[in-house]
Symmetry: C2
Subunit: 489 residues, 2 copies
């Protein structure tokens, strides 16, 4: 099931669930810290609003997972690795003399908590394995809430067919339509992924086996997940969330309205990159000087003295609110998943500068739909940026196609947040979702692909041919001998 969750403020259509009375349940949440938490938090708060008791397990050193009136937090100590220690110079002294807690410490505490509370379901982001392992250990059904896991482990673990002939792999940058050489690369990538998975998750497999005291793998553990709530769609066809547009500040409103008929351009490179190398930045300023549009740029680097007047630099941009403004003409973005969906939702053509991760793949898929232009950050010049920017702004087909894509994207029978809540509650009501588990999990690779059956049938065929040929030859020889004998006689 491909279920997706909106970013902000979607109204819950409670009437949807009125057919089945929802009993208040108890949900254990094992999140992944950082941006992973931001979207899971929305689901956690929504479940809390609907009356469920939410307990969130938080690592002591959490970055983003804070307390809330909507859920209980339980902190657990985390053993630091040597690398962490080095990075956190200030903490060295304190930690060096402290014995790191063992996994069993966490388990013992958890064991008490779980026995006392009696949870109905565990909600986790399987990007990290803790939640999934805890679910197995305490026989809790797991709801896996996922944006991405390396080497398509989720697809492998759910036994979801994904033929490499039209399902592009990570980092290939291909779309579902591939040429023969591209299909070769994609197939090799699929084989490579399988090896990568084993290598990458070897330690996780070992951890799961040691901790659960049985011979198992992380993939195997994941395969027991009751329901997967996926926050991606590789076709970019229908997915995730369109946040509601909020009002702009008076200052911003004045700036963008002052752009007149030419409108304005929004430029951010995501939460990770706010400062560009000076040479690159200079090229960008040069390009912006030559366009009639105003530009809003999330930039914290040095500003040249003669910076063009049409550019407004800011430390932080209300990206979605700006893109939702009718005067927004183009969006210069690195192609992160949040940014592209905001661009699609608001129907703004894009100029894309992919930096790392899945961004290259995202960009290719949008370019192939004719709603974006892609540029390499490595050899970016003012001239190249100008060409791309003028193209997406002046060639009307970009705006038409993104408007169409936006309409498709927003048109769905049920809001993603409601769907995510429904399936989490479904798992609680039915104590798992064993009936949705495909029987494919009971087959090994050879059986799944029917290679044993094909082998067996080939064996029979070969045997039949062999016996037939031998028999014929035998008969032929007999006859031949007789003829020879007769001739001799």
């Amino acid at each position: 099931m491909a279920l997706t969750v909106p970013a902000l403020g979607l109204l819950a259509l409670l009437c949807l669930f009125s057919s089945e009375p929802v009993q208040a349940g108890k949900v254990l949440v094992m999140p992944v810290d950082g941006s992973y938490w931001l979207s899971m938090k929305i689901l956690v708060e929504e479940l809390s609003h609907r009356g469920h008791e939410m307990v969130v397990l938080v690592p002591e050193t959490s970055v983003l997972i804070g307390k809330s009136a909507n859920y209980t937090t339980k902190y657990f100590r985390v053993p630091y690795t040597h690398a962490d220690l080095k990075a956190n110079l200030d903490n060295i002294e304190k930690n060096a003399f402290e014995k790191p807690p063992k996994l069993t410490d966490i388990v013992e505490n958890l064991g008490n908590l779980i026995q006392e509370t009696g949870f109905d379901v565990l909600l986790t982001d399987p990007f990290l394995p803790c939640g999934t392992i805890i679910a197995d250990s305490f026989s809790l059904p797991a709801v896996s809430f996922l944006r991405m896991i390396p080497c398509l482990l989720d697809v492998e673990a759910t036994q979801c067919p994904s033929p490499p002939s039209f399902v592009p792999r990570f980092f290939t940058g291909y779309t579902d339509k591939m040429t023969f050489p591209q299909r070769i690369e994609n197939t090799l990538m699929a084989v490579f992924d399988a090896f990568l998975c084993r290598k990458l998750f070897a330690r996780t497999d070992e951890l799961a086996s040691r901790y659960l005291q049985k011979d198992t793998t992380y993939k195997e553990q994941l395969s027991h997940g009751a329901v997967w709530l996926l926050r991606y769609k590789f076709t970019l066809s229908r997915s995730i969330n369109c946040a509601k547009k909020g009002p702009l500040t008076k200052e911003l409103e004045e700036f963008v309205n002052g752009s007149g008929e030419h409108g304005f351009v929004v430029f951010t490179l995501g939460s990770m990159v706010s400062q560009l190398p000076e040479a690159k930045a200079r090229e960008l300023f040069e390009a912006f000087r030559q366009i009639p549009q105003r530009v809003l740029w999330r930039h914290t680097g040095p500003v040249p003295e003669n910076a063009p007047k049409n550019v407004k630099l800011m430390k932080w941009l209300p990206q979605n609110d700006l893109l939702g403004h009718p005067k927004a003409k183009a969006f210069i973005t690195h192609g992160g998943s949040h940014g592209i969906y905001e661009g699609i939702c608001n129907g703004v053509p894009m100029v894309m500068l992919p930096l790392f991760g899945d961004q290259g793949d995202n960009v290719q898929r949008l370019v192939s739909r004719g709603v974006a232009e892609s540029l390499s950050i490595y050899d970016l010049t003012a001239e190249k940026l100008l060409v791309a920017l003028r193209k997406v702004i002046n060639d009307k087909s970009y705006k038409e196609k993104i408007t169409e894509l936006s309409a498709l994207h927003r048109d769905r029978p049920i809001e993603p947040l409601d769907l995510a809540v429904f399936w989490t509650e479904f798992v609680m009501r039915h104590k798992g979702a064993a009936h949705l588990r495909p029987a494919a999990h009971e087959l090994n690779w050879i059986q799944y692909h029917s290679l044993d059956v094909i082998g067996f049938l080939l064996l029979i065929l070969v045997t039949v041919i062999f016996v037939t040929v031998k028999s014929c030859m035998f008969c032929f020889r007999k006859c031949f001998k007789k003829t020879q004998k007769k001739k001799k006689e």
Copy 2:
């Protein structure tokens, strides 16, 4: 997409669709006559209630498709085959002298109708090919509303992966869990299906090619369907419809309430069979005489003189209303798709007597879930029926498991009728659903399975091995010669 449609009286949750304003559109409907029409009619009427203009194409000789205030009907003449003529003796005279209309006659009429009306979408049951061909001919996006098509042509046409290792084929009677010999049979059946499809639809392919004046197949035509509304689920996990229970007549209410704590048994063999061979019927009466439950039996055959008092024979039964009664203990059924879903919805364990068609498959899937017992109609005896009936009534696990299955079946995020309406309107809003069409359609069988890529990679591997071996041998020989020379010297 597996979307399903309820049989009767489900309330429309209009709030669901309030986010996207629904413009009144024009829908052309090409139904299949008979029971196929009964469920499509529900969708047609619902779309009409929501303000769309519905035009239903009806063959002149229609059995079930009648007029309605909710939709316009357009009749078209149908050419009778020789077999039809023989069967309809009364009509012979009239028809023998009438020139059968050509396909082009229908087309010309339709052409005018379509040009005048400007339809947005064509709704059809692809069990018969007319609708799909008309859609292509007039470039209308098609919504395919399907219960079943032979040899899994729908799966083939949509390029939906369905590995024979865990997806059972028609008429095998297997579930998703198969032994090695069963997998062999299922794989052979899958291969056989592919040949069967070609043979079975050869005339349809020819019809489509001739009529559309291009080289095409029915499968190819089907593959252009925008959205499929499927009224089946082979896993029996979540599907079709639970109708609301209506009140019983006073007479029936008295009869079933008079059954006391033992409750009653419902017995029907579907709309096709209401009369059993006398010997079989006698066995059944004998069995019913020996149970404490009362029995409601849809039976029109001869009744023995000493028929047991606890059996009530009727020409027609309000099956769903009876199964919804709290005193219903068991359901003896032939395993037709309507009946089994009524049994599941109401949570009544079943004794199944499969007769033909997909019934054998349905029965096996319920038996494997521990909610039914299966008997062969051919060697049915009073004793066997008694054993099965007592088992499903007295062994509590049957009731528990069917209650569980019923809960799973009824628990869904959105009503099937609303989903069917949503996707039909989606196709109207977006003039098709080209973005949902998998790129797999542009690949041939060899490409889809990456056999060309595998072949190419194998070729390279073999070449590399060959060159390496040859090079080594060459070097080896050279060295060897030198050594020999040296030795000689």
